[in-house]
Assembly symmetry: C2
Homo-oligomer: 267 residues x 2
């Protein structure tokens, strides 16, 4: 029996997560006594069907002030041609799935040297080794070879620049590359010292030049930054179009501009 | 004649802006030879109508892999009870409106001392005076008095803490306050010096305490930051829930963590 015919039997348990900016919501419920997670997200407006916007099915004008008007509308919707939402449905779902899709609270932590030594560094040690084999596979040309945009093979100054998986490879305004360094002694931003300034400058300039050559974007159209904490502990730099939409990955406290990192060590 | 009855006569000229993450699109068109701008944004899921999610009007299952399913759906829609979109309509619109609503390209600029002296500082001078009377109205208790959460009236150390207009005043996970300083010699982040460390620490601690007392959020649940460039040139600090959704205003290159600013001047 297909999930679509089971969906009407969904009995809501609770909302796991919601995001009013991105217009998404994640529901936990049960179908036939087994957990089901629905991740629902409204669709973007279809630029191939723009007339649907000015021809809504119904309009409720709720505010008028001179030339400014606000209205709520019902849009035409069709699961095949003009879907109003995209669902990801996990069924049957386990407790692990439920934990993964449950909203997490965020805390801001000022990381002192003591905190780094006593808590973060031991944690980083558990994240090395075979957990990041996929990074070494890229560096050793055992995976994603055809995706490499630029490589400097020098063991100290070298790095590989390749598209981030989140990028569609086409939309220039969302261009997103990743520079993964060849050297293995730098796990994160915390390992950078004054001696690495030349290395970072080199990586920055070569990356900017490679993106310019292939995609035509100027240096000033790119935002280069480092995540701390990163999702994996092998130094890598994010190279993204300055027009890219700002989200969690770009937030102050998570993303650190490469230029600032360099300026701090120089200054 | 009301805008809602004119809307069907809308003839599309071009798309001014679109945002696939936020599910919004801005169209320029004409109605009876006058420009009309439609800013359309899909609505967030209504948490009062959750059953509508599991009971869509139609479902198109397009992917099945073990427990994972993806589907496109047509949701029930009603301009009054379950609107699918919110429209802001500007009609008749002028060239100024069109420029305002047209997507702008962003550039990353490393601001040198020369650039600051020769370009930014002269610009800042044009942004002072009566342009920021609304800020002085707040500081002089001539406006928004009933919105003040905390005030230290000292002319040097003092500031006013009040809710940002973007906050609904209720949703704690989106809490957003603004601390506006009483002193008038600090226009932006660029004016901060080592001598201001105590002032910033004081502002930080008093703001955290005031938010804790009124809303129960701990210091670690708040993100304090300064915009550069800011939208107005009188020093103000953003105090936001660390759970708030990250957007343009939080992006690295625009938002500077207060703790980092303090650490830089100390270090």
């Amino acid at each position: 029996m297909h999930i679509d015919s089971l969906l009407p039997e969904f009995v809501l348990d609770r909302v796991l997560r919601e995001d009013s900016s991105y217009k998404s919501i994640t529901l936990l419920g049960k179908i036939k006594d087994q957990y089901c997670i629905i991740v629902a997200e409204k669709t973007a407006f279809d630029t191939n069907a723009l007339s649907a916007i000015s021809q809504p099915e119904a309009i409720n004008l709720d505010l008028e002030n001179n030339i400014y008007h606000r209205a709520f509308v019902a849009l035409k919707s069709d699961a095949f041609k003009l879907p109003s939402a995209k669902y990801s449905i996990i069924y049957p779902a386990t407790e692990v799935h439920i934990a993964k899709y449950t909203a997490q609270k965020k805390r801001m932590i000022a990381e002192t040297p003591e905190l780094y030594t006593n808590v973060v560094q031991p944690y980083i040690q558990t994240m090395l080794g075979s957990r990041i084999d996929w990074v070494f596979n890229i560096l050793k040309h055992e995976a994603e070879v055809d995706r490499i945009l630029f490589e400097d093979t020098d063991p100290v100054q070298g790095f590989i620049l390749l598209p981030d998986l989140k990028w569609d490879g086409k939309t220039l305004s969302a261009l997103y590359m990743c520079a993964i360094v060849h050297r293995r002694d730098l796990q994160s931003l915390r390992d950078l010292r004054g001696e690495h300034i030349g290395f970072l400058q080199h990586l920055k300039e070569e990356s900017q030049a490679a993106v310019k050559a292939k995609y035509g974007l100027e240096a000033s159209q790119l935002r280069l930054y480092i995540h701390y904490q990163p999702s994996y502990y092998h130094l890598h730099i994010h190279v993204q179009s300055s027009d890219a939409e700002a989200g969690e990955g770009l937030a102050a406290g998570k993303a650190w501009l490469l230029d600032d990192d360099i300026a701090l060590y120089i200054g």
